[in-house]
Every structure is written in structure tokens, then in C-alpha cells.
């Protein structure tokens, strides 16, 4: 089981006890709400609520550190990229122009800076809930909850297989790449030109694909022998019973969803510019 729980961190908090399907619904509602709006005044509270939820799940910082840094680095690069390519886009959206810098090919406006901050906060507000979801839901329970929210069980099972075999494939990838490096093929920076490195990559990929194809045969035979797919429905060993808190969370998130849509339809929540 330890292999299957690649990201999962075992603990006993509210979010660990909650059913995967309930968490999946919260994640979906959260995503839709974030997609609906373009207002930093909504993203900052959402981000803070997310952070509070994340803290209450007591995930060790050491394990989630990398994801948080990746997100921050991504936001910085994405913002700089947006500022460099479309320095006046914010004025197009907000309808006002406040020039702060002349770049030659275009002007950088204050509106674009606000726009870039809004966009970064939009991405950041999605992060805590996603991290919470993946670190508190066991992969096998993820499959059963996907099935519960209406995903056909064979698709849900494919999901579970993918999660289950990633560590195995990582190990295999490392083995092949070590073997290839021992033969003198380089994959890192400065170990050859781009085309050489791509060629060397193929020399790992081909054995990896070949062994994966064999693996498919083995696994599907084993599953067939155990009668997988005989019936049109399937029960899950890891399925949990819904408790009161699951119902409360689902009802709350559905109310939030309806409120958000109603608010958006009335025309609120478009790009907000303070000045």
C-alpha cells in the first residue's frame, strides 16, 4: 500500500476523514467559482480560506514545500512574460490608461500591473484546495470517489492504475537511464547537443515503452483472471459512508456555487481596477 500512497500523507484530521467524493465536489465548485470571476477582492479571501484549511489539515511543510515553490516561481515567470509581451493589456480590460514606463515598442501601464497581480492571485487561490485534495485523499479512495460522482468505474480504475504504477515506472526509468549512462549516453545539460540528447532520450523511452507494453499484458491477464469487468457495476473495498460533515460541506459548496453564479450573472466580479 505504501507504493500507492505516493503523495498521500496519513493523518486524522477533518479533511482526512471526509469522503473523497465530497472533497472532489468542493474542488470542482472552487475551480468553477475561480473561473467565473476576475476580481482580486474575491481571490485574496479565497486564498486565505484555502490556506486556513490547508493549515488545519496539518500537512508537513517539508512535503508540500516543492509544490508551493513551483507555483510561486511559475507565477513570477508568467507575470514577467505577460508584462513583456502585452504591457498594455490591462488598459484594454479596464478602459483606463496610466502609463508608468515607456518600453519603446509599447507602454507599461499600471492597469497591467494590477491585472498581472489579479491573475497571479487567481492561480494562487486554486493552489491550497488542490494541494489539500491530493495530499489527504488516498489514491484507491480517489478511484472509488470518482466512481461515486458518476465517472464510469473502468475510467476510475484506470486512474487508480496510473497512480499505482508511477513509482514502479520511475524505478524502471532510473534503471534504464543508469544502464544507458553506463554505456556513455548523456541526458543532462552540457552532455551533448539538443538533438543528441533527444536521441539519447529515445534510447530510454523505447525500452520503457516496450516493458510497459509487456506490463499491460501481465496486469490485464491478472485482472481478467479475477473477473474484472464482468458486471456493469462495481463495489469498492475502500468506499466510505457519508457522515454529517460530508453532507454539510456539499450543501454549503452548492449554495456557494449558486450564489456565485447568480452574482456573476448580475454583472459583478469582472476585472476590478482600484483607481
Amino acid at each position: 500500500m505504501s507504493k500507492a500512497g505516493m503523495l498521500y500523507i496519513d493523518s486524522d484530521t477533518l479533511f482526512h476523514r471526509m469522503d473523497g467524493a465530497a472533497k472532489l465536489i468542493v474542488l470542482a465548485v472552487w475551480t468553477v467559482v475561480v473561473f467565473l470571476f476576475q476580481d482580486i477582492r474575491i481571490f485574496v479571501p479565497l486564498f486565505l480560506i484555502g490556506i486556513i484549511m490547508l493549515l488545519s489539515a496539518k500537512l508537513p511543510w517539508k512535503r508540500i514545500r516543492l509544490l508551493v515553490w513551483l507555483m510561486i516561481v511559475f507565477n513570477i515567470f508568467n507575470s514577467l512574460f505577460t508584462l513583456a509581451i502585452t504591457p498594455a493589456y490591462g488598459s484594454e480590460v479596464s478602459g483606463s490608461t496610466t502609463v508608468i514606463l515607456d518600453l519603446g515598442y509599447n507602454v507599461l501601464t499600471l492597469e497591467t500591473v494590477v491585472y498581472v497581480l489579479t491573475l497571479s492571485m487567481k492561480y494562487m487561490s486554486l493552489m491550497p484546495i488542490t494541494v489539500l485534495f491530493i495530499y489527504t485523499t488516498h489514491p484507491t479512495r480517489l478511484a472509488s470517489s470518482l466512481n461515486r460522482v458518476g465517472v464510469p468505474y473502468k475510467v476510475a480504475y484506470a486512474f487508480s492504475i496510473a497512480f499505482r504504477y508511477i513509482p514502479d515506472m520511475q524505478a524502471e526509468f532510473r534503471n534504464i537511464s543508469n544502464a544507458m549512462q553506463a554505456r556513455g549516453l548523456g541526458f543532462g545539460k552540457g552532455e551533448g547537443t539538443l538533438s543528441q540528447r533527444l536521441k539519447h532520450f529515445v534510447s530510454i523511452a523505447i525500452p520503457l515503452v516496450q516493458s510497459s507494453l509487456h506490463r499491460i499484458e501481465t496486469i490485464s491477464n491478472a485482472m481478467d483472471l479475477r473477473g474484472f469487468g464482468k458486471h456493469s457495476k462495481r463495489t469498492w473495498y475502500s468506499a466510505t459512508v457519508w457522515h454529517r460533515e460530508d453532507y454539510i460541506v456539499i450543501v454549503t459548496s452548492l449554495i456557494v456555487l449558486i450564489a456565485a453564479i447568480a452574482w456573476r450573472v448580475q454583472g459583478y466580479g469582472t476585472f476590478w481596477y482600484p483607481y
Binding site: 507555483m71 511559475f74 488542490t130 491530493i134 484506470a158
Partner: protein, 187 residues
């Protein structure tokens, strides 16, 4: 009783899972071009799995594999728009599977099949990631001009990987499987 289209056989289920794991794992290898987009050799996995197992496996491996990459290495956000792009790409690469003269496991193919694979895959990559870029503008509110730059970069890089790595890998597999059999089909 009507059969659901999701009622595929066990091998398909496993192929989706393993294809997704491979695509997800190899997607971490990126040669960056512009932020968030780069040259991803993993696209070749979609070509191989599409050609071997068909459009359904291509579509779902692309989608699940992309979700896995985003969850584990994407900074904690699932880019649903790009998930759809990968899925559509996988679907396009599997279209050639429907042709009766094409079967990788038996090492059978015609020149036309390979051309179809190359073209349908390239078109699917352009359409799929084009839809992703448009969705990014509407869902995330990204600047359209910036999305065009990302779209061109990703489309060109991915099509190059598909044609150079993907199609040649399929050709390699075809040759390998052909060599395994000394029998000829007389018609």
C-alpha cells in the same frame, strides 16, 4: 441492455492507466521555450499509445496523464484547459487505429496509414492546444496576445516531437513486430 461506450475490455483499462502513468511521468522532462510551455518528448507516448490502442486510450491517457503531471509537479493546480488539449491530441493520434490495414502488434501498415498518423496527430495537436489557449483566455482571463505566443511555441514543439520521435517510434515498433513473424498473409 444497451452497452455503455465506457464498457471497454480489461486490456483497454490497463492500457489507459499505464499510458497515463508513462505520459504523466515523462511530461516532467521539459526543455523550456516560454513559461508554462516547452518541448515535451512525452508527446511521443501519446502517438505510440494512440497508434497501438486507438482513440479512446489516446484520449483518456492524455487526460489522466496530464492531470497526474499537474497534481504532482504542476504547482498544485490542474490546468483543465491543457488537460483537454492533451486529450484531444491523444484522440487524433488514435484515429489511424480504425484503419483495417494498420495493426502495430502484427506489424502491418501501409504508407498511407503512416501519413494519416502523421497528419491527424499534427492537426489534433494544433486543434487541441488551440482550444486550450482559447479556454485559457476565457477561464483564466489570460491576455490573448500572450496566449498566441504560447500556442505557437507549444504547437510547433509538440508537432515536431510527434513527427520526429512519435512517428519514428511507431515505425520502429512496426518493424520489430514484423521481424518476429516469418509468416506471410496470402490473399
Amino acid at each position: 441492455m444497451k452497452q455503455s461506450i465506457f464498457n471497454f475490455d480489461t486490456k483497454t483499462v490497463v492500457a489507459i492507466g499505464i499510458g497515463a502513468a508513462l505520459y504523466g511521468l515523462l511530461s516532467t522532462i521539459t526543455i523550456p521555450l516560454v513559461p508554462q510551455t516547452g518541448l515535451r518528448p512525452a508527446i511521443a507516448i501519446l502517438t505510440i499509445f494512440g497508434a497501438l490502442f486507438g482513440p479512446v486510450v489516446g484520449f483518456l491517457s492524455g487526460a489522466i496523464g496530464h492531470i497526474i503531471t499537474d497534481l504532482t509537479w504542476g504547482g498544485g493546480t490542474i490546468w483543465w484547459s491543457w488537460v483537454l488539449g492533451s486529450a484531444i491530441s491523444g484522440l487524433g493520434m488514435g484515429l489511424v487505429y480504425a484503419s483495417s490495414s494498420f495493426n502495430v502488434n502484427e506489424g502491418r501498415s501501409t504508407k498511407g496509414n503512416i501519413v494519416t498518423l502523421a497528419i491527424s496527430g499534427s492537426v489534433a495537436l494544433a486543434v487541441g492546444y488551440g482550444i486550450s489557449s482559447i479556454l485559457d483566455v476565457y477561464l483564466f482571463g489570460e491576455a490573448p496576445d500572450k496566449m498566441w505566443v504560447q500556442f505557437y511555441a507549444s504547437a510547433i514543439a509538440n508537432i515536431a516531437v510527434h513527427l520526429i520521435l512519435g512517428v519514428s517510434a511507431v515505425l520502429g515498433l512496426l518493424k520489430l513486430n514484423r521481424r518476429n513473424s516469418n509468416l506471410r498473409v496470402l490473399k
